[in-house]
Symmetry: C2
Subunit: 190 residues, 2 copies
DNA sequence: GTCTATACCTTGATAGAC
DNA sequence: GTCTATCAAGGTATAGAC
C-alpha cells in the first residue's frame, strides 16, 4: 500500500519530465527550473528526490548502461566462434534497439553521460575493450581489432539521429545490421 | 609587417589554449575564466577577440566541418559505381583521419558542436542525408539505406576514443576501414 | 517525510573607463 | 586592447514550514 500522492509520484514525475526535456533539448540546455516548473514544484524540491542534476541523468541512463554492460560481459565466459559472435552481436543490437528512444539524449550529451557514469567509467571502458577484443577473434591482428571497433560502431548506428524518422522498423534494423556487422567482421578470413 | 606581439598573438594564444582545454576536459567543463587564466589575460578580454564561447568552438571545429562537407558534396555530381563509392569513402576517411586529434572534443561535445554550427546545420544535415542516399546506390531498398548509415558510422570509428592510444597508424586505419566499409555496403548484391 | 524560501557561488556576457 | 564592475541565470546547500 502506498500513498496515492506524495513522494513516489513526484519522484516519477520528475524522472519523466527530465527524460522528456533532455530528449527534446539536450542535457546541458535543460535547466532544473524548467524541470521543476513542468512538474509543478520548486527547484529546491528536486534536491529532496535527487541529489544533483547529474544524479538525475544517471538514473535516466542507468538501465541502458546496465543492459549494455550485461551483454558485453557475456563475452568473458563464451568461447569465440562465428556463431557466438552472431549471438552476442544480436543481443547487443537488441539492447540498442530497445533503448532507441533514449538515443538522442545519449548521443548528443555523451560528455555529460560519461561524467554521470563516473565511478563505473573505468570498469565500463575495460568491459568495452574486452568485448571489442573478444569480437576481434583469437590471436587478432591490428586490422582485426580495427574491424571489431568498426563493427560496434556500425551496430550503434541504430541509435543515430538519422534513423529516428520512423521509416525503419525494429525488425528491419536488427536483421540488416546484424548481417552487415557480421559481414564486416568476416573480412578476417580474407 | 605585423607587430611581434599584440592582437594576432593573443588571438592565436586563445585559440590554442581553448583547443587544449576543450580536448582535455570537454567544452562544457571548460570555463572562459580557465582559458583566460592560461593565456594570462582577463575573461572580458576574450570578448574582444571572440564574440562568444560558441564562436571560439566554431573557429576550432570550422575546418573539420568544412572538409567533411566538401567530401560529401562531391557525391552530387558523381555517378554511382562501386569504384566511385570506394573513392568517396577513401576521401571521407582521409578527412576523418586528418582531424583525428580534434576527435575527442568533437565526439564528446556533439551537442555543443551542433549548436555552434547552427545556421549551417540544416544544410549540413541535408548534405549528409544526400551523401548517405548516394552511398546506398540507385533505387535503394530500406536495408540498402541502413547499410549506408552503418558504413558512415563504421568509417567514423576512426575518431573513436578507443583508437586514440596510438597503437594504430593512419595507413592501417585507412586501408582496413575502407575495406571493411566497402564489404559492408557490398551486401547490397546478396 | 515532503516541500519551500532564500541565499551562495560560478558562469557567460555587457558596459564603460583607461 | 585590456581591465574593473556588474548583470542575469544556472546549479547547489540549508533552514525551516507543514
Amino acid at each position: 500500500m502506498q500513498h496515492a500522492t506524495g513522494s513516489r509520484d513526484t519522484k516519477a514525475a520528475i524522472h519523466q519530465a527530465a527524460l522528456d526535456l533532455f530528449s527534446a533539448q539536450g542535457y546541458e540546455k535543460t535547466s532544473l527550473r524548467e524541470i521543476a516548473e513542468q512538474v509543478g514544484i520548486t527547484k529546491a524540491s528536486l534536491y529532496y528526490h535527487y541529489s544533483s542534476k547529474q544524479d538525475l541523468l544517471r538514473v535516466i541512463i542507468g538501465t541502458f548502461v546496465d543492459d549494455v554492460r550485461q551483454v558485453m560481459e557475456r563475452s568473458a565466459g563464451l568461447e569465440w566462434s562465428p556463431e557466438a559472435v552472431r549471438e552476442l552481436l544480436g543481443a547487443y543490437l537488441d539492447v540498442i534497439i530497445k533503448h532507441r528512444a533514449t538515443g538522442p539524449t545519449l548521443m548528443r550529451d555523451i560528455g555529460a553521460v560519461l561524467a554521470a557514469i563516473d565511478e563505473d567509467l573505468e570498469g565500463l571502458i575495460a568491459t568495452s575493450r574486452a568485448f571489442q577484443l573478444w569480437l576481434a577473434g583469437p590471436n587478432p591482428t591490428v586490422p582485426d581489432r580495427l574491424r571489431a571497433a568498426a563493427a560496434i560502431e556500425a551496430a550503434s548506428a541504430a541509435l543515430s539521429a538519422n534513423l529516428q524518422a520512423g521509416e525503419f522498423t525494429d525488425a528491419e534494423i536488427h536483421a540488416t545490421l546484424l548481417d552487415a556487422t557480421t559481414a564486416l567482421l568476416a573480412r578476417r578470413n580474407d
